[in-house]
Amino acid sequence: MNPNDRNTRNGLRRITRRGLIVTGLQAGFIGLLAARLRYLQVNQAEEFRLLAEENRVNIRLLPPARGLIFDRNNVPIAENHQNYRIVMVREQAGNVDEVLARLTRIVPLSDEDYAQALDSLKRRAAFVPITIAEQLTWDQVAAVSANAPALPGVTAEVGLTRFYPLGSDFAHIVGYVGRVTTRDLEKVDDQDPLLQIPKFQIGKSGVELKIDRSLRGFAGIKRIEVNALGRIMREIDRKEGRSGANVQLTIDANVQNYLEARMNGQSAAAVVMDVNNGELIAVGSAPSFDPNKFVTGISTAEYQALNDDPYRPFANKTVQGTYPPGSTFKIIVALAAVEGGLIDLDETVTCRGYMELGNQRFHCWKRSGHGKLNLRDSLKHSCDVFYYEMAQRVGIEKIAEMARRFGLGERLDLPLNGIAAGLMPTKRWKQRVIGSEWRIGDSLNAAIGQGFVLTSPMQLATMTARLASGRAVVPKLLKSVDGAKTQTAFPPDLGISASSLRAVRDGMFAVSNERGGTAYSTRIAEKTMRMAGKTGTSQVRRITTMERRQGVTRNEDLPWERRDHALFVAFAPYDAPRYAVSVVVEHGGGGSAFAAPIGRDILLEALYSGPPPIEAYPASQRTRIMNERKNLPLRRPEA
């Protein structure tokens, strides 16, 4: 092998030729690459530029306007107000602390809010707008705008927020809305994308909570251009969502306002119901609170004060509160006895002030006794001994069955929170829950609405409405949703003989229209509007033998929480019943003195759809009533 061969001309020429071929191919391919680049970047530039735009388009949700809530006469109860808020963008603000300090001179911020705003500003991305303050007045917004040069990165925005113009009147019925919390998201299996919007308001209690889905509406869509970091450049287009459904309640805002004003200062609950179709005219629980505070954010101190109030303002006592019905329960026992044929209407029972059973003595509220009375008089005077006798004749099972037919001991279906079922005890119930045998004494206590029996004011109103109409009326709160009337079946007949119903109604007529009746002093003078009622006073403490011997302590001398509950149920007009009412004044004292006047006043308000003429009251009471009316804390002074 000659080493020189490696460098022969022949060998080199071959490399030269092959090298040029390869280089030529490479040059060709480089040309191809350049042509391809030109095609993509110049010829097709327009098309790809469009595709690039698509990459940068983002979709944002537009929260819909929440459905409005009206009363039966289209008075607005829940509205959406424009909410001015201040937002701040960190990267535009420059010195955040300084700008924030300047801002607080125009818009005062609590230390808590200030710290929170500062924290969010530092934590979130620099270009994300952070809400610093909400619910600003127009003046504040104007001041911020005027000082814009000194407040870089600060802008005023407008959004919608819930507002309840009638304030505390509807706090328990309509409830309130609040921001979506993570707990809300966990609780409901709701795929609605709206819930993902920070600070989106959803119903938290009452009607707002129960029919939230209808009120909420559906999200709109906004297409915005963002850069690769997600910063919004501009809005491209938008598709509006669908506002929530407007809702009309059966409530009359004026009667409701009167009711709340009438119960002012007391821990009480009252319900006014149409006896024929169950429409609720007013449902009030006192004391109440301002739901607007919850929308804007209530301070811890205020919340704590409301929460610690012994009168329990947060509770909707009309459905959540359960009370021993006291003598109002005698309506049920009387009906069970008459319907069962266990007493004739003219049959009498003698009351000596007590009844002895075994070695126990069961007292009548009137220590001296009522003497001989028939069913009508027993209701009129609310004699306890008469019903002790009835309890033994009828038995607890029949009483419980009658109570059920009147809606007691069963949960009513209403769009409200925490509806209590109350309690209608039976032998089996006691065996199961208390674990002991039902004794006859339990029946006697139950017959006068004491012992185990518990009812809510809503149930008592339903009971009274059913008695007045003879039909299984069901309470109803929603009159229409989104313009469509809510359909309810015509209430079926209770299946109780007309004569039995008439007998009990007649007894109730005597209660509030005949001298000696427990509610005679709160009668209605106007003949066409006369009412039939039943008072009740339910003990919340046990009266010992010792105390009874020494004389029962007067209610006024007891601490508030140990006083009796005052109750009253009634319907009117007696001849053609329209409205039923129930009133419970917690620890109010005697039913006739403390609950019946409220019952009469709100019934009259409902019957006349406004303030009744003074002639509706008995002549002797008119001056006092006039004075009382003047002092009522009504929203709008009555004309």
Partner: protein, 379 residues
């Protein structure tokens, strides 16, 4: 050796060698690398960290190595070729057992101070080995079957090892690089005709193997070919790279969006934009003008190498220079084709520009060899 004696008279010696370096080539290589620093700076959002500064340090190291290699006579490197090839082969085998996994592939060996990618090293040692082989082989035997089988084996062994990592792109580049060397050395046309025919059959077989137990390519490799043929079928999945890349290129237009103004290639829309897809960033931000400028730099690098090779009467030097030029060409041709939707997405970096330590160092060493051949060529 007589040619050595003959050469010694004309070859420059001592510090004078610096004057004989191929300075335009050095300038062009530095220009290409500078484009890389610029784009890495832009892709990082206007920051030297984490890529641009690291890349610059490697370039500086590579630059020194290039000069050192250039100073050493070319015949020394020819004698070293076999050893270099064996070392690279051992490293490739080592990666099988001791390599670091990264994104589903085992390609790296951790040397402590850097992550070494033996498959990159092999690209240049293969060229070196084949150049030495054809320098040694008597020209009359070049096309004899036995002497054709040897270079085929030299190419196939590392190719097979790289394919196992698995790294389809590099394996293909090795194969094409080896075949090109054989073509340049003057192996008869007939072999290449036969090879093309065989390859056609082989491709058919590989595709027929799909879905069978003896499937020859990984699913993702098949998928990449599928989406290459029709990227629109899976715009958010496998075709995402190509579609997004084309969008970025297209939105660049003539003059580009401006340096550091690219929206598509930045952060979200394009992954791996500091390595294999860096050309999209460049073309988006600097437009057609910028893209073609880089292409021109590459073309000039090839041109200067080819000129150097064709004026080199030393067979080894000429073959080596052409081989390096071809390998360099394959790098950017495959990368740009892939980015512009003309080839499947395979992991091939843009030479001198893409972020990556081994590729940069190996390329600089290769240019060192080219310089050495240039300085020491017989005059």
């Amino acid at each position: 050796m007589s040619y050595l004696v003959h050469n010694l008279k004309t070859v420059p010696s001592g510090p004078r060698k610096v004057l004989y370096l191929n300075w335009p080539l050095i300038l062009l290589v530095t220009a290409a690398a500078s484009v890389g620093f610029l784009m890495l700076y832009s892709v990082a959002g206007g920051s030297f960290d984490p890529w641009a500064s690291a890349q610059a340090k490697r370039f500086a190291l590579g630059f020194v190595m290039m000069l050192l290699i250039a100073m050493v006579p070319i015949w020394f490197w020819r004698n070293m070729a076999g050893l270099a090839y064996v070392v690279a082969l051992i490293l490739l085998v080592a990666v099988e057992f001791a390599g670091d996994m990264n994104m589903g592939a085992r390609r790296w060996i951790n040397l402590g101070f850097m992550q070494l990618q033996p498959s990159e090293l092999m690209k240049i040692t293969l060229v070196l080995a084949l150049a030495a082989y054809y320098d040694w082989l008597d020209i009359s035997r070049t096309s004899r079957p036995l002497w054709v089988a040897v270079p085929l084996l030299i190419t196939a062994v590392p190719m097979f090892l790289v394919l196992r990592q698995p790294d389809l792109g590099t394996a293909l580049l090795l194969g094409i690089g080896g075949v090109l060397m054989m073509f340049l050395a003057g192996v008869s046309w007939k072999y290449f005709m036969a090879a093309i025919a065989t390859a056609g059959i082989a491709i058919t077989v590989v595709f027929q193997s799909r879905g069978t137990p003896w499937q020859m390519l990984k699913d993702y490799q098949f998928k990449r070919i599928d989406t290459f043929l029709d990227p629109s079928t899976d715009p958010l999945g496998a075709g995402y790279h190509i579609t997004q890349s084309k969008i970025a290129l297209g939105s660049g237009g003539w003059g580009g969006r401006g340096f550091m103004q690219g929206t598509q290639s930045r952060l979200d829309f394009l992954p791996e934009n500091q390595t294999d897809f860096i050309f999209t960033s460049l073309a988006e931000e600097l437009g057609f003008v910028g893209g073609v400028s880089l292409l021109a730099i590459y073309a000039l690098i090839i041109a200067f190498c080819v000129t150097s090779a064709l004026t080199n009467r030393d067979r080894f030097g000429a073959l080596l220079t052409l081989g390096v030029a071809s390998t360099f060409f394959l790098y950017f041709a495959v990368n740009m084709s892939m980015v512009m939707g003309m080839a499947p997405v395979v992991g091939v970096p843009l030479p001198l520009v893409s972020y990556g330590g081994t590729a940069m160092l190996v390329l600089m060493m290769a240019f060192g060899l080219v310089q050495s051949a240039h300085v020491h060529k017989p005059r």
